[in-house]
Amino acid sequence: MPEPATSEFIEVRGLQKTLGEQHILHGVDLTVHRGETLVIIGPSGEGKTVLMKHVIGLMRPDVGTVVVDGLHVEKLRERELAPIRAKVSMMFQNAALFDSMTVEENIAFPLVEAGLRDRKELRDRVQEALEVVDLAEHGKKLPVNLSGGMRKRAGIARAIVTRSQCILYDEPTASLDPLVSDVIDQMILRLQKRYHITSLVVTHDMKSMYKIANRVAMLKRGVIHFLGTPEELKNSPDPEVQDFIEGRSGITA
C-alpha cells in the first residue's frame, strides 16, 4: 500500500531571508511531519522566530518555498492565507494577548471571529481551553493582572481553542520557573497525544526540549546545522552542538 500523498505537514526548502542589512536565513531546509513535535534550538539571533513566522505567512521569503499542508505560503497573498491560518495557530513569545480583553475574551476571540455564535458552545470551549492550561480560575482577569507564566498559558489556550492541526510555539517556557515550565511541557505532550497536533517549538530550554521533542533541529549561521532525535543530539560528535546543549561558551572567568 502506498504511503499517503504527504506525511509532511510543513516543508521548507531553500529559505533565505534578509532583514535590513542582516542576512538571517541562508537556505533553510526543514520538514515537519504530521503529528510530530519538532523543536528548533540554536543561538539567539539566528532566525528561529523568523523561520517560524514564515510558516504562518507573517513574513515572506526572499528566496525559497514554504509549503504548509500542500499550500505554498510564499505564493499566497495576505488575504489568501486564511485556509492555512485555519489549520495553524501560533503562541507568541510574549503571548500577544489583547490588553483590552479579559483572558476569557482573548480565548473566545478566534472562535467568535471564525463565526461561532452559540453562547453555550463558546463558553464550553473557552472553559475547556482554560482547564487544559490550568487557568480556569483566572478567566475574568485582564492580561495585565496575570503573571508571566499565566500569560504564556493563556496564549497557549488561545492557540489551542480553535483545535488547529498545528501549533507553533515561540519560546513557550522562556523566563518561567521550572515547575511552570513543566506544566507547559506536559500540556504540549498532552495535546500531541490527545489531539495528534503537529507542533513546531522554538526554545532555548534544553530540559524542555528533551521532554517534548520527537526531533530536534539546530539552526546556526542561517542553516539547519543539525537535525535528528534528542538521543542523536545528545550523542552528536559535533563540538558546536555539544557546546550549545551543554551551555559552554568557552569563556572562563
Partner: protein, 264 residues
C-alpha cells in the same frame, strides 16, 4: 548636483509616504467590501472620539468665539458697526475657526490615542496575533475608527460652532450691551446653510486625514516603546500640519462651490 540631492530625497520620501497612505486606503476599501462591520467597536470608538472630545471641543469653541468677538467688537466699534459682530463671528466660526480648531484639538487628542493604541499593539505582536487568527487588522482596527470619526467629526464641529456662537452672544449682548435683536438679526441675515455646509464638509475631510495619518503611524510603529512614542508625535504633527494646509485649498475650492453670502 548636491544642491538638488536633499530636496530630491525629501520629495521621494514624500511620494513614498503618500504611496503608503494610498495602500492603507486600498486596504480600507477592501475591508469595506468584505462586508464585516463590527458595530460594537464602532460604537466604542464613537464614545472615545465623539463623547470623549466634548470638553476640549466645547472649551476651544467657546473661548475662540469669545476672544474673536472681543477683537471684532473693539475694531468694529471704531467705525460704529459693532452690531455686525454676530455676522462676522458666525461666518468665521462656520467656515474656518470651528472646523480648524476642532480638527486640531481632535488631531491632538484622538490622533495621538489612535497612533499609540495601534502602535502598542504592533510592537507587542498583537497585530500579528490578529493576522494569525485570520483577522484583517485594517478591518478590525482602522475601519471602526474611520467610521466613528466620520460620524463624530462633523458633530464635534457643529458643537464647536454652537458654543462659539453662544459665547459670542454672551460677550456681545451681556458684555457690551449690544441689543439682542441686532446681534441675532445680523447673524441670521449673513449666515447661510452654505456656511454650515462648508464646516461639515471640512469636518469629513479632516476626520479622514486624522484617521488615516494616525492609524498609519500606529501600523508602521517599530522599535518598542520609543517607536510608539515617535509614531504618536508624528501622527499629531503630520495630521495638524496636513489639516492646516488642506484647509487653505479646501477653503478656496469650497468658495467656488458654496460662495460666501450665497444661500443653499
Amino acid at each position: 548636483m548636491d544642491f538638488f540631492r536633499l530636496p530630491g530625497r525629501i520629495f521621494l520620501e514624500f511620494l513614498h509616504y503618500l504611496g503608503q497612505l494610498a495602500a492603507l486606503v486600498g486596504d480600507l476599501s477592501y475591508a469595506v467590501r468584505s462586508g464585516i462591520l463590527r458595530l460594537r467597536l464602532v460604537a466604542r470608538q464613537i464614545v472615545e472620539i465623539g463623547y470623549g472630545s466634548q470638553t476640549v471641543v466645547i472649551v476651544t469653541g467657546a473661548f475662540t468665539g469669545a476672544v474673536f468677538t472681543f477683537q471684532c467688537y473693539m475694531n468694529f466699534k471704531q467705525f460704529g458697526v459693532e452690531t455686525g459682530v454676530g455676522a462676522i463671528v458666525s461666518v468665521a466660526l462656520c467656515r474656518e475657526l470651528g472646523p480648524v480648531l476642532a480638527g486640531l484639538m481632535v488631531a491632538g487628542r484622538v490622533g495621538a490615542s489612535m497612533a499609540a493604541d495601534i502602535g502598542t499593539m504592533k510592537v507587542t505582536e498583537q497585530i500579528d496575533a490578529l493576522r494569525v487568527m485570520g483577522v484583517d487588522p485594517v478591518g478590525y482596527l482602522v475601519l471602526p475608527r474611520f467610521i466613528a470619526m466620520l460620524i463624530s467629526m462633523p458633530l464635534l464641529i457643529a458643537e464647536s460652532i454652537t458654543f462659539g456662537l453662544l459665547a459670542s452672544f454672551l460677550v456681545t449682548v451681556y458684555g457690551y450691551g449690544v441689543p439682542q435683536p441686532w446681534f441675532v438679526g445680523h447673524m441670521v441675515e449673513h449666515t447661510n446653510m452654505t456656511d454650515l455646509n462648508v464646516g461639515m464638509i471640512k469636518g469629513f475631510v479632516f476626520g479622514i486625514i486624522i484617521t488615516l495619518v494616525s492609524c498609519h503611524q500606529g501600523l508602521m510603529a517599530k522599535d518598542g516603546a520609543v517607536g510608539v512614542g515617535t509614531g504618536t508625535t508624528r501622527a499629531v504633527v503630520i495630521s495638524s500640519l496636513s489639516l492646516l494646509i488642506v484647509n487653505f485649498f479646501l477653503s478656496v475650492l469650497l468658495n467656488y462651490v458654496f460662495p460666501m453670502g450665497a444661500s443653499a
